[in-house]
C-alpha cells in the first residue's frame, strides 16, 4: 500500500524541491521533490519512510548532473492518478534505502566518473533511451541499446543476472542487484529475505499459487476469504510484513540505481517483461511497483514476445537481401523460468513480428524444486507443521540440496544427495534422471499441454514451424527441451539467442524503438504486433462468460457485441467484466463492473445493449456500454466508458459479493446473427 501513501501524503511544500532531511523529519513523512523547468536537476534528495518499514528511510536523490530526459508519454497514457505522478516531469533517479543513523556515511554516492565503463560518445546520443528490464521470479537483469547493439549491464559483482530478492536483515533492506555484500544461499533462505515475488504479486489468498508458496522460508499467511495475503520477513526475530509491490519496488529501484551508475544518466523510462500468464490486474501491480521505484513503464511486454522481437531482428539481419519479399518465418518460442511458463507462435517477415498465439501459465522451476523437496522428505509437512526456525532451517537445506541436484541433472544422469537436517534426520538418496522425470511428471505434462494448446490456437500444423526457440532457466532441463522439440518435430533448437539473456535483450530493443531511436543499419526497423493472451468478456445470465475480444486478437483491437436484458421491464443492467478463458465467469479474473441504466421498459430479449471493448497501442483496455435504440444509430442514454481493470485489492472477495447482491441485473446474449 505504499502506492497510496505516496499519493495521499504528498506534502505541497515538498513539491517545489524543498530538501527534507531525516533528522528533522517526522517518522512517517513522504516528500516528493521534482525538478521544475526553471531549475536544473541537481542533487535533490527525497526521503520518505513507509509505514511498513518503520525503522528505515527510503531516499531518492540525483546522483548525476545530467539533464532530465524529455518526458515521453507516447506509449502509455496514465491510467490513474497515482501513475500520473510518475509521468509528470519529476525526475526521481535513485531510490535507495538508508538507515537514518548512517546518513552521513553517504552509502550511495554514485557519480564517480572513473568507474564508468561505458563509452561516453555512444551514450550521449542515447541519453533518454528506455532500458529493458527482465524481472524474473528468480533472477533479474537490465539491458540497454547502446548504439550498435544491446548491452547487458553488470552490477558491482560483475554479474549480468542478479538474484531477485530483498533481504530484511538487522540492517537495511538490500536487494540482489546491489550486492553490497553477497548473501549466501542459506542466508537468503533464512526467512529474512523475500523472493519469488513475481509469483505472489496481485493474487488473492484463495489462490492455489499463494497456498503453494507457504512452503517458502518467509511467511505467507492466508485467511482464505479472497483478500490480499500477508507476507512477512523475519528481521530481528520479528515477522515484519511487507507487500509484494514494495519488494518489487526495492528490487527495481536497485536495478535503476545500478543502471544509472553504469550509464551516468537518470533512468526513467523502462520496458519491462512480464509473463504471458499475468492478468491485467497483476500488470497494474507491476506498474505500481515501477511507479514506486520512480520508473515510467513505456511498455509491459510478455516475455516470449520480447524474444520474438529479438528473433525478428535476427531474421532481418540474416535475410537482408530478401527484405519485404514476404519470406515468412514461423517460430515457436517456449520460455520457462523459475515461476512462469509461456509459449508463443510468431510469424516474422520484413522486420514485422506478428504474435499469432500467446499462452502462459504459472509453472516453473519453483514447482520442480518443490516436487523434489517433497520427494526427498515426503512427510515434510507433518514433521514441521509450524513456520518456526526449525522448519525454516530444514527447508533451506532441502531447497539448496534440491536446487543443486536439479542443476546437476541437466548435465549428468544421476546425482547423490546426502543431507543432515537440524533435528538429526539423515537423507541419503540417489536421484536419477528417470526418477526426476517421474517426480515432476505433472510439470512436464502441463508444459506439453500448453505447447499443444498454443499450436492448436494458431491453427497451423507443426510442419510450418521453422524454428523452435527455448529460453529461460528451466529450458536447460533435458526433459523439457526434448519434450518441446519432440512436439514440434525438430532436431535442434534455434541457436541464435541466449536462453538467459533473450528476454531482456528483446526488452532493450523495444525500449530503443519506443524511445524513437533509429539505426542506420535498419537493426531497429522492427515492429511487434502483440496479441491478447487471454480473452476479455463479460458475465451473462446464469454466470456464463462471453468473450468480446477473444484470445490472440491483434493489439490494438476494438470489438463490439450486442447483449440484451434477461428480464421483462429491466431498466438497469450490470456489466461485469472478466479476463480469462473459462466458460464460467467466476473462474476468470474479475476486472471491474458498471451499470447501464435508463434502459427502456420492454419485454426481455428485445432491448439492445451494446458492449464495446477497445485496447489501444499502450495496451489500455476501455469498455464502453449502453443501451441503443433498435434500428437507429444512437444510444438511449450517454454511453459508459470504463478503463479496466478498475478494481484494487480484494477482487476475489468482490466477485462473490457482486454475484450475491446483483443477480437481477443480468444481461443475456443476443442471437449470433444479430451481432454487428
Amino acid at each position: 500500500m505504499l502506492g497510496f501513501t505516496f499519493h495521499e501524503t504528498i506534502v505541497p511544500a515538498a513539491l517545489d524541491g524543498t530538501r527534507m532531511f531525516p533528522g528533522g523529519a517526522p517518522s512517517r513523512l513522504l516528500a516528493l521533490s521534482r525538478s521544475s523547468s526553471t531549475r536544473p536537476a541537481t542533487a535533490t534528495p527525497l526521503f520518505f519512510s513507509t509505514p511498513r518499514l518503520p525503522s528505515f528511510w527510503v531516499g531518492v536523490s540525483y546522483p548525476t548532473q545530467s539533464k532530465p530526459p524529455p518526458h515521453s508519454t507516447r506509449r502509455r497514457s496514465s491510467k490513474n492518478s497515482f501513475l500520473s505522478i510518475s509521468s509528470s516531469d519529476q525526475l526521481i533517479s535513485d531510490l535507495i534505502v538508508i538507515d537514518p543513523r548512517r546518513m552521513d556515511e553517504q552509502l550511495y554516492m554514485v557519480a564517480s566518473d572513473s568507474e564508468n565503463t561505458c563509452e561516453d560518445k555512444g551514450q550521449s546520443a542515447f541519453h533518454d533511451v528506455a532500458v529493458g528490464i527482465d524481472l524474473g521470479t528468480s533472477k533479474c537483469s537490465v539491458a540497454v541499446w547502446s548504439g550498435a547493439g544491446v548491452e547487458l549491464l553488470k552490477n558491482t559483482q560483475n554479474q549480468k543476472t542478479m538474484r531477485s530478492y530483498v533481504m530484511f536483515g538487522d540492517d537495511v533492506p538490500v536487494g540482489g542487484a546491489s550486492e553490497v555484500r553477497a548473501y549466501a544461499e542459506d542466508q537468503i533462505l533464512s526467512g529474512s529475505a523475500i523472493f519469488n515475488v513475481k509469483r505472489l504479486i496481485g493474487r488473492s489468498d484463495k489462490d492455489p499459487i499463494i497456498h503453494g508458496s507457504k512452503i517458502l522460508p518467509f511467511l505467507v499467511q492466508t485467511l482464505d476469504i479472497g483478500v490480499r495475503p500477508l507476507i512477512a520477513a523475519l528481521a530481528n526475530n520479528v515477522w515484519r510484513s511487507i507487500t509484494p509491490e514494495e519488494v518489487l519496488a526495492i528490487v527495481l529501484a536497485e536495478l535503476k540505481t545500478m543502471a544509472e551508475i553504469k550509464l551516468k544518466r537518470p533512468i526513467r523510462n523502462v520496458v519491462l517483461t512480464v509473463p504471458a500468464a499475468f492478468s491485467r490486474f497483476q500488470q497494474t501491480r507491476v506498474e505500481r511497483a515501477c511507479a514506486m521505484a520512480g520508473l515510467h513503464v513505456l511498455r509491459l511486454m510478455p516475455e516470449p514476445t520480447a524474444v520474438a522481437l529479438l528473433y525478428a531482428q535476427h531474421q532481418q539481419q540474416s535475410l537482408h537481401e530478401n527484405m519485404g519479399s514476404g519470406c515468412e518465418k514461423v517460430a515457436l518460442i517456449f520460455n520457462i523460468g523459475a515461476g512462469y511458463c509461456d509459449v508463443a507462435v510468431t510469424a516474422t517477415a520484413g522486420g514485422v513480428s506478428q504474435i499469432k498465439a500467446l499462452l502462459g501459465c504459472t509453472l516453473g522451476g519453483e514447482d520442480i524444486l518443490q516436487n523434489v523437496v517433497y520427494h526427498l522428505l515426503p512427510n515434510f509437512d507433518t514433521l514441521y507443521p509450524n513456520h518456526d526456525t526449525n522448519k525454516i532451517r530444514s527447508l533451506a537445506l532441502l531447497r539448496i540440496a534440491a536446487q543443486e541436484a536439479i542443476h546437476k541433472l541437466s548435465s549428468q544422469s544421476s546425482v547423490q544427495i546426502n543431507l543432515k537436517l537440524p533435528d538429526g534426520t539423515q537423507i541419503d538418496k540417489i536421484l536419477d534422471q528417470s526418477e526426476f522425470e517421474d517426480v515432476n511428471r505433472n510439470v512436464f505434462e502441463k508444459c506439453e499441454k500448453l505447447v499443444r494448446q498454443c499450436l492448436f490456437d494458431h491453427k497451423v500444423s507443426v510442419e510450418d514451424i521453422d524454428d523452435v526457440i527455448l529460453v529461460g532457466g528451466c529450458s536447460r532441463i533435458p526433459k523439457i527441451k526434448n519434450l518441446v522439440l519432440g512436439i514440434c518435430r525438430k532436431e535442434k533448437e534455434f541457436n541464435g539467442v541466449d536462453a538467459f539473456e533473450a528476454a531482456v535483450t528483446g526488452a532493450a530493443i523495444e525500449g530503443a524503438i519506443a524511445s524513437g531511436v533509429t539505426d542506420p543499419f535498419g537493426n531497429l526497423d522492427l515492429l511487434t504486433i502483440q496479441a491478447t493472451p487471454q480473452s476479455l468478456g463479460i458475465r451473462v445470465e446464469g454466470g456464463g462468460f462471453v468473450s468480446v475480444i477473444p484470445r490472440n486478437t491483434a493489439i490494438p483491437a476494438r470489438k463490439d457485441m450486442l447483449f440484451t436484458t434477461a428480464r421483462d421491464d429491466q431498466t438497469e443492467a450490470l456489466i461485469v467484466v472478466y479476463e480469462g478463458d473459462a466458460k464460467c465467469a467466476e473462474e476468470n479474473h474479475l476486472m471491474g463492473y458498471f451499470k447501464v441504466s435508463g434502459i427502456p421498459s420492454a419485454p426481455k430479449g428485445t432491448v439492445e445493449i451494446s458492449i464495446s471493448m477497445d485496447i489501444d497501442a499502450g495496451n489500455v483496455l476501455r469498455v464502453f456500454g449502453g443501451a441503443i435504440v433498435p434500428g437507429a444509430n444512437h444510444s438511449v442514454t450517454p454511453f459508459m466508458e470504463v478503463i479496466m481493470p478498475m478494481l484494487d485489492d480484494g477482487h476475489d472477495w468482490c466477485a462473490q459479493a457482486l454475484v450475491k447482491a446483483n443477480g437481477s441485473l443480468d444481461v443475456a446474449t443476443m442471437p449470433k446473427k444479430s451481432q454487428p
Binding site: 490472440n552 463490439d560 434500428g631 444510444s635 446473427k673 444479430s674
Partner: protein, 142 residues
C-alpha cells in the same frame, strides 16, 4: 450502406440461434468511428492498396508494409489517427489472407457491384445473403 459493411467478429462463443434479423445493423456511435467521414466505404482491397487479383503473398507483404507505417507504435507521437487505421488494415488483412473468407467476400462484392445499383436485389436480399454466409471474417487467420 452500413448494413453491408462488415464490422466486428467475435461472436464465436455464442450458441447459434435462428436468425430473424433483417434490420440494418446498428452501428455504435461512441468512439467507434472506424472509417467514418469517408464518402464511400472502401473495399478491403482498397484498404490494403492491392489489386483484386493479388496473391495471398502480395496481400501479406502489403499488410506488413502498411502495418509498419500505420501501427500506433510506428507513428510519431500524436501523429496519425491512432489505432483506427491499423485496425482497419488488420481487418481487411484478416479477411483477405484467409482463402475461404476471401472467396466469400469476393462473391459478396460482385453481388453488390452488379446487382445492387440496378435495384433488382433489395436490402432484404443482401441481408439474407449475409445472413446465409454468416460472419464474413474469421477470428484469426495469419
Amino acid at each position: 450502406m452500413s448494413s453491408a459493411m462488415p464490422t466486428f467478429a467475435g461472436a464465436s462463443s455464442l450458441s447459434a440461434q435462428p436468425a430473424v434479423s433483417t434490420r440494418p445493423r446498428a452501428m455504435v456511435a461512441v468512439a467507434m468511428a472506424v472509417g467514418s467521414g469517408r464518402a464511400a466505404p472502401k473495399s478491403l482491397y482498397q484498404v490494403l492498396q492491392v489489386a483484386e487479383t493479388a496473391t495471398t503473398r502480395e496481400i501479406k507483404v502489403a499488410y506488413r508494409s502498411m502495418a509498419k507505417r500505420l501501427h500506433p507504435d510506428a507513428l510519431p507521437q500524436g501523429g496519425g489517427s491512432g489505432a483506427a487505421d491499423f485496425i482497419e488494415i488488420r481487418r481487411a488483412y484478416e479477411m483477405l489472407a484467409d482463402p475461404a473468407a476471401r472467396a466469400r467476400y469476393d462473391w459478396s462484392l460482385s453481388q453488390k457491384r452488379w446487382k445492387l445499383p440496378s435495384g433488382r436485389l433489395g436490402r432484404s436480399d443482401s441481408d439474407r445473403l449475409s445472413a446465409r454466409f454468416g460472419r464474413w471474417e474469421t477470428d484469426q487467420c495469419w
